[in-house]
Structures are given as C-alpha cells and as structure tokens.
Amino acid sequence: MNIKFYIFFILLIPTLLAQQANLQNKFMLAQSYEQMGELERATEVYEEVYKTQPENYQFFFALNRIYIQIKEYDKSIQITEARLKSQPNDYNLVGMLGVTLYLKGEEKKTYELWDKLLEQAGGNQNVYRILSNYAIELRTFDKAIEILVKGKNASPNKTIYSYDLANLYSLRMQYAEAINEYCLLIDTDPNQIKQIEGRIYPLLARPEALPIIIETLEKKNPHINTNYAPLLINAYLENLSFEKALNLNFELDRKLNKNGTEVFSLAQRLYSLKEYSFASTAFEYLLNNYPSSAYVSQIKLGFAKTFEASLEEKIQSSLALWKPYNMPKVLLKADYEKSIDAYKEIIKSYPNSEVAVEAYYRIGVIYEKRLLQIDKAKESYNFIAQNYKMSNLYSISCEAISRIALLQNEMDIAKEYLDVILAFPRSQPVEKNLAKFRKAELLYFSGDFEESRSLVNEVVSFFKDNIANDALELSILLNTSINDSLLLTRFAVAELFIFKKKFSDAIVILEEIETNEQAIFLSNYASITKMECEIALDNFPTALKIGEKIVSKENLNLFGDKALFLSAQIYQFGIGSDKNAIELYEQLLAKYPNSLYLDKAREEINHLRKKVS
C-alpha cells in the first residue's frame, strides 16, 4: 500500500509541476497580449488561468486590472466579492472593490463600503492609509481627507497623518487647514521647522494663499508659541510686511536667546531686498541690544551703509537725473555728516580691518559726491591707496584720487594714479579698462589726441564693458575732428570745464567754436553741448532757444533730433508742461524717423498720455 502510494505521489508531483508551469506560461502570454493592446485575447487567457486557480492573487489581480481596463466593471465586482468572501479581512480588496464601484458610477456604494470598514478599523492605520490612497487614485480628495481625519481621530498620535493631510489640504486649496496640520507637526517636533518651511514656501508664492496663511499663523499667537514665528516672518516678508516681520523677529531673537543672530540674518536679507530703512532699524536694534556680539563690526558697517543708502533714496528726486549734466548740490548735509560719523566710529573701533577700509572708502564717496569737499575725499581715498594695497578697494580708490587730481588741475598726479591701476596685477579687467578710458580722457584734455585715440580704440574693443559707450563717443569726436587740432583743443578745454562743472566757462568757449562753420561737426557739437550746459545751469528759456536754433538749421543739422528731445525733456521735467513736451516728442518722431531718440520719445509720449488721461 505504502509503496503504491509513494509511486502515485512521485508521479503526481511532476504532473502538478507541469500543470503549474503551463499556467505560468499562459499567464505570461496574457501579459504579452495586454502589453500589445490586444485586450480581448488577454482577457480570455487571464480568465482561463484565473478559473484554474481562483485563489492565486497574481491571477486575480491581473484579471481585475484588465476588467477595469475594458470597463467590465460587473465582472470585476463579481471576482472581487468572491475573493472577499474567502478573505474578509483583506482591506486592500475592499479598497479595490470601492474603486470598481466608483468607476461604475456607484459612488454612494463605494463610500458605504469604505465607511463600514472604517467603523471596524479602530486604530489600524493601514486601513486609513490604504483607503485614502484609493480615494486619491480616484482623485476624490475630499474623501481622502475625510478618511485620514477619521484615522487621526481614532489614533492617539494626532500627527500620524499630518504630512498627508497638509498635502491634500494644499491640493484642495484649503490653506488654513494645511497650515494647522504643519503647526501640529512643529508642536510635536520643533526640529522639523526647516522641512516644513520648505513645504510651505511654494504655497507662499500663491497670491490667494498668502493672506490665509498669514491669518492662520497670526491666530496661533506666535508671540507665545515662538515655534511658528519663523513661518510667519517668511510669510510677512513675502507679503512685503517688513515692519511686522521685523518686530516678530526681534521678539523671537529675544525669547530664544539667539544673541542677535536671527536679527542679523534678517537685516542682511532686508539690505539685499533694498529695504534700507527696515534694514537700518534691524542693525540699530542689534547695536543697542548686542554691543558685544561677535558680528558687531559687520553690524556697525551694515548700519552705516543702510543709513547712507536710505539718504541716497531720499535725494533721488532732487537730483534731476534727466539732465545730461548736473550742477552738484549739497543735500541733507547734516544727515550725511551723521553717516560719516558712523563710518569714523567703525574706523576707530576696528582699525586695520577690511571693515575699516570700506568705511574709509564710503567716507571718501560722501565727501566727494554729496558734501562736495574734495580735499577731504582725497584724504580718505589716499589713506586706502597708501595703506591697503591688498584691499579690494585699492584700484577703485586710485581711480577716485586721479579723478579728484584732474578736478584740481594736477594732471601728472591724475595720470600717475591711472598708471598705478594699469600696472597693478590685482586690478580687475573692468577696473583696468576704466583706468584706460580715464587716461584717454586725460590725454584728450591735454591735447595729446593721437595717444588718446589709440587708448580709446583699445577700450572700444572691450565692448562688453559699460564704459565702451563713452569711449565710442570720444572716439567719434577724435576721429572726425583730429585734423582740426586747434579747434579740437579748444573743445577739449570746454569739456574739461564741463568735467569741473564750470558750465559758464564752458559756454564761452563753445560759443566761440560754434561760430566756426567750416568745422561742421565741432560747430554742431558745440551748439548741442552748449544747450546741455544751459540745462545744467537751469537756464531753460536759453536752452530752448538754442534748441530751436539747432532744429531750424536747414543744412548740415547733425543734432536736431537731440535738440528736440532735450527741449521736450525741459518741458516735461524742467518747466512741467506735459502738453508742450508731447508736442515736441511728436515733432521728433515726424522730423527724424531714424533718430536714436525715437524709442525713448515714444516711451515718454505713452507715459505722458497716460498721465494726462
């Protein structure tokens, strides 16, 4: 008996194995059909293998998938229900059945089925996750949220689904709820703040989300629960509510005993955003509260620079930048002196440091450009040039000394400092190029036109540099007028007067040149430059008359378009008559259709018309 049984068993095993191999082959064949898009044939073979082994999960899953693909929802429901009978605790099957019912259009039944399972789920987080994933697959995000909220309520861990819920709320544009979930996570583990900041950041860029996020975070009282404060500060910055950001930042820094590091980082951020007054407040706060901070030298410099930048902002409207040349004026004298004092304080506290060098340089700039005390400016620049050769500000200081020397008629010194820049190995290419152009100007003022021309040509070839445009202008002047060197020398003298802001002296020479009608270019150039000088002196009626004369010239009128443009600008900015300005801009368009000023004139017409309307 035993022997017979063993023989039977031994023979049966290969048969069973062969049958299984056959089924696997058929299954693979069905998969091939499916991949080829022959869904009907794939279904037939899947059905065949499924009938042979209905308990095989792989066969069941493939058949269910293809039923859904060919929209045979009833058949899918039938096999899923059959499988559920034998495996009633398989949550995944309930999820799948719900999906098929939903696709069939029986949404209510889906939710009833899932809700029934959820009632029995207790704290089993797998059930909530599986069902919410199926809901997400169906893109029924509200249901997915509902499932996870039920899971949250059933679980002692209230943050177990917080990341998923926050994501879903963001998708549904329920930003307040999303923020609440993120705050819950921060409550549990404040170290997650960076990760959460990263998740909230894209939401801040949505205009509709920003006010809701701010409101939600404000309600959470971040003054007490400081963990939320960094999120709210970011939201305030995005909303350009700098004052609120700053106040909360001070509070945060104080409460967390950060010794000013939080405020310092925000101050730098505000400075880079060009919010100088707020940056200044932040630096001032640091100086008052953390005078012995490790960053105090940088704080002091930052404070002084933001204060200076805020003064620059204030004087912008008084600078009349529309004018080709400006008569320098001293504005906000007391404030700029205060700014100098702040820099001097830095130099005193931190001598021989890079911070001190920058302070010296800033003092030089203020004395030169704003207080018009060029001797004092020169002193500051000189100090850098003599003592801080390795500083990044060395070359630029030498260039400033050269500029001042030229103003003081010290041509040799001016040239010497430019040569220093050109020979200095640490000078940047841009700095060298500027020095080259300045030297070309210097040579031009001195009447050495050939040498000047050769240097200008070198600068022009460096076309990526901004200075190339100025060089080009000088190059045109030299190339067209070099043969009449006597007159060009006179013109150079006039230009040197303009450089020194001695416009009246320049006008006398320019008048002399413009009468020489043999020198067509220089005569025309002198007229338009004279007009520019009159504008600098605020002699608008005279400037307009010169402009009219230039425009009315019948022959060889080289700068008619520029004269019309400047006249229009006088009306627009100097006299304040927009109507006349529009008229002149329109005349420019009509008379000079190829002018370089066309685009600017069109822009101004459009701007003025909008203003008028």
Binding site: G37, L39, E40, I68, Q69, I70, K71, L103, E137, L138, R139, L171, R172, M173, P202, E586, L589, A590, P593, L598, D599, R602, I605, N606
Partner: protein, 421 residues
Amino acid sequence: MNNRIFLFLLFVSFLTIQLVAQDKILIPMDLRQTDHLKAYGITFHALENGLKADWLLNYRGGSFMIDYSNQVLSECRIEGVFFQELSASQSADIYSFVQSEDQNMELMRLEKAPKVAVFVPPGFQPWDDAVTLALEYSKIPYEKVFNEEILRGDLEKYDWLHLHHEDFTGQYGKFYASFSNAQWYIDQQIRYENEAKKLGFKKVSEMMRAVSLTIKKFIGQGGFMFAMCSATDSYDIALAAHQVDICDRMYDGDSPDPQAQSKLDYTNTLAFDKFNLENNPFVYEYSDIDIQPTEILNQENDYFTLFEFSAKYDPVPTMLTQNHANVIRGFMGQTTMFRKELIKSSVIIMGERQGINQVKYIHGNFGRGTFTFYGGHDPEDYQHAVGDPPTELTLYKNSPGYRLILNNVLFPAAKKKKQKT
C-alpha cells in the same frame, strides 16, 4: 466774361487743392515697413475710430490704406510704423492699379474692428501664447474667455476666437510623463477638476468635449476661429471623440474605451480625417496628425512656403497669406505641422514645406464661419520649451510668422463680397 474766367480759375484751383491735399494714409507692408506688427494695430484702431480702411491685397506686401487723419499719423509715428501721405490723385492711382484686371491684386474694404476673444485659462501657465503676445504688442484689444464663459454662451459677444496650446481632449497636454510632479501641472489638474465639478461635469474630458462642441456651434453660426499649436489637432480629436472616452486613468480616473480608435467620428471634425490616436499616456503626442521632429530633420532647412492665391477669386486665403516674404522660417510646438494625407479635401492648404507631406497653415469653412489652424508655438522661437521666457516682440517687429497671426485677426473686419462666378 471776366466772371466766367474767375469762376473757371476758382474751379481749377479748387480741383487742384482737392488733388494735392492729403487724402489717404498708405501703410506699405513690404520690406520698407519698419514695424509690420504694429501696422495691424494702427489699422485696427482706425476702424475702431470709425475711419475707412482698405486692405490692398498683394499690393506692396498687403498694404493698408486709411482715411487721412492726424490721429492716425501721430499713432504711426509714436508706434514707429512707416507710412506715406497720399493726395487724392495718388490714392486714386493706387486704387485703380490694384483693381485693374491684369494685376493679381484686390481691394478689400475693412468695415469694423472685430471683437476678439482669447481662450486662456486663469492663473499661471509656464508657457506663453504667441497670439496674446502679438495682440499685446500691436495693442489690439482682446478679452479672455475660458470654459465657464464659453459654456454659458459668452461667445455670442465676439467675432473672433483664438485657441492656443489648450488640450481639448482632457489629457492636460499629455505632459504626464515629464511634468506630473511639477507644481504647475498638479495645480492645473486640480483647477480643471474643480471647474468641471462646478460646471456639473463628472470628468474634465466631458467638460472639454462640451466646450469643443460649443465652439463648433460658434463657428457654424458665423464665428472665426483661429487655433495654433496643440489647440489645432487636440480640438479636432475632441470633436472626433465626442462619443467615446479616449483618456487614460491618470487623466480622468478610468481607462479609455478599448475600441476608442474605431469609435472616432471623423464626420464631426473640422480639418482632419482618418487619423490614429496615440494611446500611450506617457507619450507626448495626441495622434499621428502632428509631424515629428525626426521628420523635420535639420532646423536650418525648416522653412515653409505660402501659397499664392488669386486675389480677385480667392480673397479669403489671399488675405490670410498677405506677407512681405513667402518663404518663412519654421518653428516647432507640441503640434508643429500637419500630415498632409490626414487633411480633409475641403480644407485649403495655405502654407507647407514644399515637396513633402508637412503642412503648416490651413483654412476651412464650417457653416457660416471659418477656421484657421497654424502649427507651431512661437514663430520667433524655434523650440519654445515649458518655462522659457516669452519672446520680446520689439526684437521681431517685422516677423513674417507673426504677420500670419495678425492677418487672421484683421480678416473678420473685411466686408464680405459676393463670390465671382
């Protein structure tokens, strides 16, 4: 006797004044024109202001002749559009030249500025729209409409509708493979789904189908529709699939109809026939209508040629092909060009790559209206990728590719003439 002489002299001087006085403004559209694109805006505004304007088809690149007005002159100067002031006799000469039988030219009177609508979704999109850019640049006013406005019947208010880069099949541009994780894609899908739900549709594809059919009705009732890029083929595919689900699970939650291809109704399309769907949801293509980059080969050789039509007998395609160049540089898009063999025989081919089956620019009639399809995304950016900055049209004032777009905008302004027999 003296009185007679006096009256005669008065008459002669009056006549002379009439002939010499400025009567018309000619805006030439040939190579002398400084800003071709803004010239359309000038003509459009002249019509808005009640001035008479004529489109001189095939005369100096399709020039415009507008009633003399200081305002128009001033606008031309401000916008940098080249123009010529003509006396009555000069303009009469041009009119007679254009209308003479031995010239392939015609005069098309423009009657009123059409009301323009652009089909554009609200919110941010990581690509721009060549038509909107052209309209903005040429300062032609337009309004934005989207699904809700179309479905509530707002198209009645407009003469001209533009569709650009929209996917009317409900597959979100088939960007799934490359951008399904991108925030803009996720947001876009959610927005569409919310809108579909709000408008009472279970699926986005169903909403887009309803929108497509409404637009078709608009055309049938006399509207002008101009589509570019993927709005061309996706629109026609949506019409063909009006009774069948062609969207895969990631787009509408369920599988497409396995018999979708055979259930397409080509009789319902405007331009294309017997095309095959691209069923793979991961492939960035809707069907075989579009020409693939591998078929275009070298970018340097990608040019298309405009057909020349008889201005007197075929004024419509003549208007739509007015240009100062008849060989135009190609440009790619999600839908770049159309496969010639899939274009219905009733459709007029206006621009194609010569000698091959690649068609760029087509036009056809449906009901009382017309449609024009123009393949490619941006005529001055050969390969405009998602996220690329918009083209700065101040650098392409004379773009022949953009001119074709603006021809379509002005075309509905033309007075309908009885067809010559």
